[in-house]
Structure formats: structure tokens, C-alpha cells
């Protein structure tokens, strides 16, 4: 009875290590190539680690032959602006939906639900035309503004706000807090997990987004990471593998590191995010 159990536990580790290895191969290969000189990359025998370390050269070239640092800064600017706007705009609406009884509330919630059905790729064409008319093509604004409101954010915050007891809201009103201060000082602080989950969901989506930036941004100085690394590859014609893999590693690294540090939050954020 005990022996099969022990055997299975051993087999469990072997199976999972094998599948994990297969899943990780693209990462390992990418990092491995980013450490090698061109001669070794085009060699037919495979070594995980380089014989001559070329990491410094490859990474330096990635940062100098393309504005890689600029791409990363753009990613930070765009993602943080989008997240700030989304929380500022969605949280009060979610509070109104959760805690205030006003005429038209159900209608507004229906609008939110309908908007949840609309994928962003559908909005790309009309929003592109609108941005063009407003002269916003190739600006930070056009990367940020279309995402200022998130129906998913309103939906998620509303769910969390509903669980906060009404009495707390009444007490806060009696203390003279305005409706907006109730949102900032009561609702959001009491919905920590929702805010974290939404923040992860939002930042990951926009750091990784290629579709919208590809449509509205053409100049290097505005490209977010996902688009920047593609532009870098196209300019290099995909031949200079070392620096290219170094650039890809740099673009992937921030989210992967954040994920490894706070993996529980990420997994829960996305398991929750899947209700979108």
C-alpha cells in the first residue's frame, strides 16, 4: 500500500519536472542565445552555456542599437497612466452601482455588461479613425486614452464593494465624508485584493499588447515594449540573434520577475480575471 504511493510521488515529480522543462524551453533557449557570440549561435552542436561569454556585448548592443530603455520607460508610462485612469474612473462608478439607489442604475449596469461583450479589437477601427481626426496618432494619449475606462474594472469593483456592509457607508456619511472620499478612504482600501487583481490584470494586458500600439504608433520614441521588440527584430532582419534575444529577454523580464516574486497574486488575479 505504501510502496505504490511512494513510487507515484516520485513519478509525479518526474512527470511535472519534464512538462515544466518543455514549457520552459523557449525561455531557456532565449536566454542561452543571448549569452553567446555569433559563432557559437550558428554552430550546429548545442550547449546551454557559451564557451566564450558574450552576454555583455549582446546586452550592450541591444540597448545601444535600439532605444530599448525608451521602450521600457514607455511601457511604464503607458501602463501606469492607464491603471491610474482606470481606477480613478471605474471605482466611483462601481461604488454608485453597489451602494447608491438611484433611478437608471440597472440601465447603467446593463451598459457596463454590454460593453464587457465588446473585444477591443472591434473598437480598433473606429477609434483609429477618431484618433486620426483628433490628430492623436503617434502620441502617448492615443496609447492611453482608449483604455481610460474598463467595463471589467467597474464590474469587478462593484462585486467587491457590494460585500462591504452598508452601515459602514452610513457611518462614513455621518462623519461628514463626501461620496468621493467614501470611495477613496473606505471602499478602495477595504477592497485590497480586488485592486491588486485588477492592477495585475491591467498592467499585464497593456505591457504585452501589440495590436493597438502597432496600429497607432510609428515612431521609435513612443513604442511600448511589445511593439519595440518587434521593430528591433525587423530592423535587425532577424540575423543578429545575440542582441535580439537579449532584447527579448529584457522585455519579458519585468513581468516574469514580478510574477515569480508575487506568483500567488498573479495566479489569483487571472483566475478572477477569467470571469471577464
Amino acid at each position: 500500500m505504501n510502496l505504490p504511493r511512494t513510487l507515484w510521488q516520485l513519478a509525479r515529480h518526474l512527470i511535472l519536472l519534464a512538462t515544466a522543462f518543455v514549457v520552459l524551453v523557449p525561455f531557456i533557449w532565449m536566454v542561452s542565445l543571448s549569452l553567446k557570440p555569433p559563432g557559437e549561435i550558428f554552430q550546429s552542436s548545442f550547449n546551454l552555456l557559451p564557451q566564450t561569454w558574450f552576454a555583455a556585448e549582446n546586452y550592450a548592443k541591444a540597448f545601444t542599437s535600439a532605444p530599448l530603455a525608451r521602450y521600457l520607460v514607455n511601457g511604464v508610462v503607458v501602463c501606469s497612466s492607464i491603471l491610474t485612469l482606470q481606477i480613478t474612473i471605474c471605482a466611483p462608478a462601481a461604488y454608485a452601482l453597489a451602494k447608491i439607489d438611484f433611478r437608471g442604475r440597472d440601465l447603467f449596469f446593463d451598459v457596463v455588461l454590454v460593453c464587457l461583450l465588446i473585444p477591443h479589437q472591434v473598437l480598433a477601427l473606429p477609434l483609429f479613425i477618431l484618433s486620426y481626426r483628433l490628430g492623436l496618432i503617434d502620441t502617448y494619449t492615443v496609447l492611453i486614452l482608449p483604455f481610460a475606462v474598463s467595463p471589467f474594472g467597474i464590474f469587478l469593483f462593484r462585486q467587491f464593494f457590494k460585500r462591504i456592509p452598508d452601515d459602514l457607508v452610513y457611518a462614513a456619511r455621518l462623519d461628514g465624508l463626501s461620496e468621493f472620499s467614501i470611495v477613496w478612504r473606505l471602499m478602495l482600501p477595504m477592497s485590497g485584493p480586488a485592486v491588486v487583481a485588477f492592477a495585475i490584470f491591467s498592467v499585464v494586458s497593456h505591457w504585452n499588447d501589440l495590436f493597438w500600439p502597432l496600429i497607432v504608433v510609428h515612431s521609435d520614441r513612443l513604442m511600448p515594449p511589445a511593439l519595440g521588440v518587434m521593430a528591433f527584430r525587423n530592423e535587425q532582419a532577424g540575423n543578429d540573434y545575440g542582441p535580439l534575444m537579449a532584447a527579448a529577454t529584457i522585455v519579458v523580464a519585468p513581468l516574469v520577475l514580478a510574477f515569480l516574486i508575487a506568483q500567488r497574486w498573479f495566479v489569483e488575479g487571472f483566475a478572477g480575471g477569467s470571469i471577464k
Binding site: V23, A93, I118
Partner: protein, 312 residues
């Protein structure tokens, strides 16, 4: 005691007062709180969606001064358009390759992870990693991996004596290669959702099954685990299908729909028609088709979610 009673009554009176306050100001507050969201939802979501349907009934080329109402002509043209038909077929094929594989593999890995206690979080993290990683960058890593001569895939195949291919340049293998990348990316997500489903199965059901004599792992799987996961499978499959329908980054970076139209998918056609060829009216018609498919799936997803909540 009576002090407590009094303060309780006071509190009640105050609460009533707060209620009245909320009724009186509700409309105004509601509007102030909702205003920005409502405005932005209308401008950024609702109106553009109506706009797409309207543009789809014109022959507008972006940049041209004139346009005419053409009714459903664009949709009739789509029906006859070989590239569009290819993209529909390829998308369907891609979905059929990605969805069952990522759900089944996600289930198997989830079951193996849950069959023991040690290193659960580590294994979950490692398998979930591709889902987080920037796909456009990882596509570049995959390109190196699939490189015909120096790529690890062909080198490995050669070593063990299997036939190699120029995966991304051969019409027979381009779409399957993209599907493998799609499976690789989404597998961890389906695993995580199935793990959540496994955790929500009440322990009592396993006890009951054991009383009925089903205590072997395999019979518990067949009698309790899989039936209880039924709604979860439905939900996970739809989420995977939605993600498969939205495949774009790998196509854009690795194959651009080629060779020929062998890896042309719906969203890539939407992109090329709307933003490369600037056939705005036609692109809008493709967008309408894409919208109907995705919105239909999302509605289906919402319904399975209602059911899941109902059961639990």
C-alpha cells in the same frame, strides 16, 4: 445596559437619517460618480461599435473624400473572398487544435499536481509562466527555436533521426506551428482554472464515493472528479476558444499570414484590410464578423458562469 440601549436607538435614528440623506442626494451623487464612466463607455465602446456596423455598409477607403452606402455588399464580397474564407477556415482549424489540447493537457497537469502535496506552488508557477510572458518577445524566441538549421527543434529531431521541416515557411506546418505556440502560451491558464475547479469539489463527495466502495484513484476520478468538473470544462473551453480567436501576435511577427494564405487568421485579416490596405468599409465588415463570433462566445461564457455559481 440602558445606556447601551439608548446609544443603539440613537444609532438607529442616525442610520435612518443617513438613509434619508442617501435618498435625497442619491440622484445627484450617482450622476457625479457615474458621469465620467458613462461618458467614456459611450464614447469609447458603444458609439464605436455602432460605428463599425455603419462603416461596414459603406465602400469607404480611408483617406478618400467620398463614400457611398452599399448595404450588405461588403458581406457578400466577404463570402466570395478567398483570403477571408481561408482566414475563417484557418481560425477554425487553429481553435480546434488549440482548445482541446490546452484543456486536456491543463487537466492532466492539474491532476498530477494535486495528487501530491509537495512543491504544488512551484509547479503551478512554472507551468503558468508562458501566460505572463510578452508574446511578441516570446514569438521571437520561438522563431529561433524553430529556425530550420540552428533551431533546437530541428537539431533535436535530427539527432533522434526524425524528419525536420522549415516550420514557419512551409504551408503545411506554419499554422500547426503557430497552434503549438498558442497551446504553449495558454496551457498554464487552463491549468490554473482547472486547479481552482478541483479545489471547489467538496471533500464529502469523495467520502461518499469511498463508502460506496470507490476508493481507487481511478474510480474516484470517474465517479466524482470529472463529473464535478463538467461546468468548469465548458467554461475553460470557452475561455480558451476566445483566446484562440484573438490570436494575432504570433501571426504578425512570425508568418504574416503566409506562406500564401496558410496561416491567415481572422484577426490578422481584420488588421490587414483595415490598417494596411486601408479598405475601411471592408475591414469594418470583417470586424463585424469577428465581433459576432467573440460576443456570441462571451455570452455563452456568461451563461456557463451563472450555472457554475448556481451549483456551488
Amino acid at each position: 445596559m440602558s445606556m447601551d440601549m439608548r446609544s443603539l436607538l440613537d444609532a438607529e435614528a442616525l442610520t435612518r437619517q443617513a438613509h434619508r440623506h442617501s435618498e435625497r442626494w442619491a440622484e445627484l451623487d450617482g450622476l457625479g460618480l457615474l458621469g465620467p464612466s458613462l461618458f467614456l463607455l459611450l464614447v469609447l465602446f458603444v458609439m464605436p461599435t455602432f460605428g463599425v456596423f455603419a462603416i461596414a455598409m459603406t465602400n469607404w477607403h480611408f483617406g478618400s473624400k467620398s463614400l457611398a452606402f452599399v448595404g450588405l455588399d461588403n458581406f457578400v464580397a466577404l463570402y466570395a473572398d478567398r483570403t477571408f474564407r481561408a482566414s475563417l477556415w484557418n481560425t477554425a482549424f487553429y481553435v480546434v487544435m488549440v482548445v482541446p489540447t490546452s484543456v486536456v493537457l491543463g487537466l492532466l497537469i492539474a491532476l498530477v499536481i494535486e495528487s501530491g502535496k509537495r512543491f504544488r506552488a512551484v509547479y503551478r508557477t512554472l507551468h503558468f509562466l508562458p501566460f505572463m510572458a510578452t508574446l511578441s518577445a516570446m514569438a521571437i524566441a520561438w522563431e529561433a527555436l524553430l529556425h530550420p538549421t540552428i533551431g533546437l527543434v530541428n537539431q533535436t529531431l535530427m539527432t533522434i533521426g526524425l524528419p525536420t521541416a522549415n516550420w514557419l515557411r512551409d504551408p503545411a506546418t506554419a499554422l500547426p506551428a503557430l497552434a503549438i505556440i498558442g497551446i504553449w502560451q495558454n496551457l498554464g491558464f487552463s491549468m490554473v482554472m482547472i486547479l481552482a475547479g478541483l479545489k471547489s469539489i467538496p471533500e464529502a463527495l469523495y467520502d461518499a464515493a469511498a463508502v460506496d466502495g470507490a476508493d481507487a484513484w481511478f474510480s474516484r476520478l470517474g465517479l466524482v472528479t470529472l463529473p464535478m468538473l463538467g461546468p468548469v470544462f465548458m467554461f475553460v473551453s470557452i475561455v480558451m476558444a476566445l483566446r484562440a480567436f484573438e490570436a494575432f501576435d504570433t501571426v504578425q511577427i512570425l508568418t504574416q499570414g503566409g506562406p500564401g494564405t496558410s496561416s491567415q487568421v481572422l484577426l490578422y485579416t481584420l488588421y490587414t484590410e483595415s490598417f494596411l490596405y486601408m479598405r475601411t468599409g471592408y475591414g469594418a465588415a470583417v470586424t463585424v464578423v469577428f465581433f459576432l463570433i467573440v460576443a456570441g462566445l462571451t455570452l455563452l461564457q456568461a451563461r456557463t458562469m451563472d450555472r457554475r455559481i448556481h451549483y456551488s
